[in-house]
Symmetry: C2
Subunit: 575 residues, 2 copies
Amino acid sequence: MDRKPFVGAFARYLPILEWGPKYTKDALTNDLLAAVIVTIMLVPQSLAYALLAGLPAEMGIYASIVPIVLYAIFGTSRALAVGPVAVVSLMTASAVGKVAALGSIDYVTAALTLAFLSGLILLGLGLLRLGFLANFLSHPVIAGFITASGILIAMSQVKHLLGIKISGDTVPELVGQIITHLGQTNFYTLGLGVVGTGFLFWVRKGLKPLLRKVGMGARAAELLAKTGPVLAILVSTLVTWGFDLVGKGVQVVGEVPQSLPPLTAPSFSFDLMGSLLGSALLISIIGFVESISVAQTLAAKKRQRIDPNQELIGLGAANIGAAFTGGYPVTGGFSRSVVNYDAGADTPAAGAYTALGLAFAALFLTPLIYFLPKAILAATIIVAVLSLIDFSILRKSWVFSKPDFAAVSVTIFLTLVVGVEAGVSAGVLLSIVMYLYKTSRPHIAEVGQIAGTEHFRNVKRYDVITYPHILTLRVDESLYFANARFLEDYIYDVVAKDSKLIHVVLLCSAVNVIDMSALESLEAINERLKSTGVKFHLSEIKGPVMDRLSKTHLIADLSGQVFLSQHQAIEALKD
Amino acid sequence: MDRKPFVGAFARYLPILEWGPKYTKDALTNDLLAAVIVTIMLVPQSLAYALLAGLPAEMGIYASIVPIVLYAIFGTSRALAVGPVAVVSLMTASAVGKVAALGSIDYVTAALTLAFLSGLILLGLGLLRLGFLANFLSHPVIAGFITASGILIAMSQVKHLLGIKISGDTVPELVGQIITHLGQTNFYTLGLGVVGTGFLFWVRKGLKPLLRKVGMGARAAELLAKTGPVLAILVSTLVTWGFDLVGKGVQVVGEVPQSLPPLTAPSFSFDLMGSLLGSALLISIIGFVESISVAQTLAAKKRQRIDPNQELIGLGAANIGAAFTGGYPVTGGFSRSVVNYDAGADTPAAGAYTALGLAFAALFLTPLIYFLPKAILAATIIVAVLSLIDFSILRKSWVFSKPDFAAVSVTIFLTLVVGVEAGVSAGVLLSIVMYLYKTSRPHIAEVGQIAGTEHFRNVKRYDVITYPHILTLRVDESLYFANARFLEDYIYDVVAKDSKLIHVVLLCSAVNVIDMSALESLEAINERLKSTGVKFHLSEIKGPVMDRLSKTHLIADLSGQVFLSQHQAIEALKD
């Protein structure tokens, strides 16, 4: 890059310019092999997720073609596979369901528009280098949200297993509807669904050990086990066709157009865009967070680096691509990326070859899935999402951090009973409010000297030396508007109670910022202590904080002194 | 209190039980004298602020009677004088003007309702001990807001000086209207207004030195100067009556009912309450912050303590009282409280005597102000609020802290051109967002040892000893969800660039909290560094943080060690 400044400048936004020119024959072979395996896995998965989003099955495949290619050009991960994923499909169904009727043309247009808006948001955040915003979604909130979404998704597929028609966005609604309509169960559908689900579970848990036992290598067994859903689809389609189960009420995918991804356009209606904007923002952020954690996990294994802001650009391009080629919101998926990686994909070109494979499927294979039962797609989804459900975060956060536990509980509860958007928004908001509350009441410790050392520790935790006329307080938080008055109150209280005090030392080793409000509070503390005959000292102020304080009158007006170390403070004041 | 547990339990909510039984004759004399002086000052001020709020003049006096008594019972400050104040009157005009027409009965009802809601909010916050919420209003945002409000208030009174009729809530609107209507200026009004304003300015700046020169004591001169507005009112009323200026178009206060505060009731309409709720919340918080800072300033001079949550209860009771006795939102005012204090008020009983004085005025003196020109009341307001205007906060914050400067600028600008509510809300929001942004990108310093000491300092600021195979990073912020990934990225970047590294030590002396997200990030860092052959160590973890970490697997799984001090870490790892 140093020798090619022109390419270097572009390469910042076009990572393909970095790996493209160095592409080798070996890499080509690896990428092609990975592409074949991923394609086989993606066909059923894409159909299933489209069903989950309430969209025609082919849109799931379309959403995997152009977005993959665009991500290969703009993204930084070598292994990430972009396309429809379970949680984003659920969120799409929830968002689009609010503005259009299921099955209508408007519903499809709204999904395209959602992908377009989501792409614009991601692209905008990337170009403005605002990737850090995703950090406000805390790990526990995400974990809780993914778990609750997994439950919602599984519940939403039960209707396909039973062959009944219901609608609902929350667990109470879904449960109520399922119970009400239980009498309409189609037993052919139920039979297919139960057998399919059982088979897929077995493929997941039992097939790999079996293949190993018959002498297959570990990696080959792993990959072959991933093709289980294809087998389920083939057999169930043949059975449905052979026994004319459609005539017995089994719902099938039906006619799917034989076509490359069509050119489509999102709606540019401001009304529609306005009502989808909030959902698009949430989908973008959830999708980004899911995608980047997959990308970073895989990159770390090869000591590669992921640039979060460039990832936003890559995902943005992929979603805008989806909007114009018959897709819906996409992101980097965990299972498909892991398969891609395990299958040996070397460069993003593997994604491009996968796109070719899917295009081939869209053109030539769609007539073959006419008789594919929806119950089998539902079984695929259920088996896939059950691995998302993990309540251990509740126990872990209960032990480690009650505020995190509160955020997780609220997120899970609201996602299940109110909806995905309410759940994740409340989780984020609650995390921020609790953090602010915590910092507004900082931990303040009185400290003393550990005999024979220069170390100062909390008088409540260590056996330390203190002096009756000196009070040293260590405040364990940056001083800013939310806690400035708390500190004032705290110090006035202590001083009012102790008439022997002559010196108050504020030990600032944990103070990383002092803002204007805190500065005024320190000035007020200084003035008030002075008027009661107590001197106010500061010690161990950090470099950047001292730089700022030295521009103010505080230091000059201080009734006491500023000490570089607490040890110096005690040496100077103890007599 | 120890010997009287029954009284003690009540005294928490009824501070009067503490000072009441100890009331002495001396205190009575002091309180009575203060009450006389404050009453004389409050009559014109109350009339003027009612005018500012767009309400009948007598409501200003009513708002000073019962609220003062209720605050005396429930409040903790010995010197605070509660009643209408400039900023809250402006906010009342702005809030009520949105739901009712100026001069209508609905306008009065809305003002009563606003006081009632505001009282309920204050009382609720106090009982729930949520006084800390006010801390999220930073000093610079308040300073900016008060300054901008002062300008708005002064501008809003110009119409009374000119004798023209205009309306407007923002500076651009007011300026436009004044210019448009300049031709309608009434010169008798303008003459009164200009002379009045000039006289009041002179009273403020020149009278006290003059009185001192003729031999008067400092305190007496100070207090006499405060009665200047009464003189202006007497003279201007006589002039207006004697020269029949009403016939020449001068607007006067007119008929004011002779009555004790009437029993009134707020509206209990949910619609009205709903539309006033946001404004009531802002008024409550602004009023509380203004009041508590006055109370604390005065209390500190006598080493008395103010309980913020009890103050909320006191102000809540005062506002609910205002709603039922013909008042409008009230709070502790700066100028009246200072006068009360300077006049020697010893206990809250001084407030009760002031209330008696005002009740007397409301019953017997109102006919005397029929001919009081509104221009003189406007002059009183303008002279009073000009002392609120202080742009020095812009310069100070520019020098000390750019985020604070941004918050102040936005607050001032939006208050002036959009309105009081938009201004203060934006200021608060911006402060919080900037604080979160700052903590999401913490300062991380590489540190080394200062030769011959156990101190470790930033390699960029000090000449320190480092080792090529050890990297010690000091992160100057608590680790939580918003910066956990930033830390991960930072460490991976450094490690990827430096192949000689064997040990990474995270110096945690400034880490006050580690939440669940940060714990997971630390676990991820540990795992990833381990997979690249680098050991991860922690040093100087604070007590409360270590307590939490010891409940997790992190410590057991750590590839490196946990060191009590950084010095021990270097001693152990340097060879």
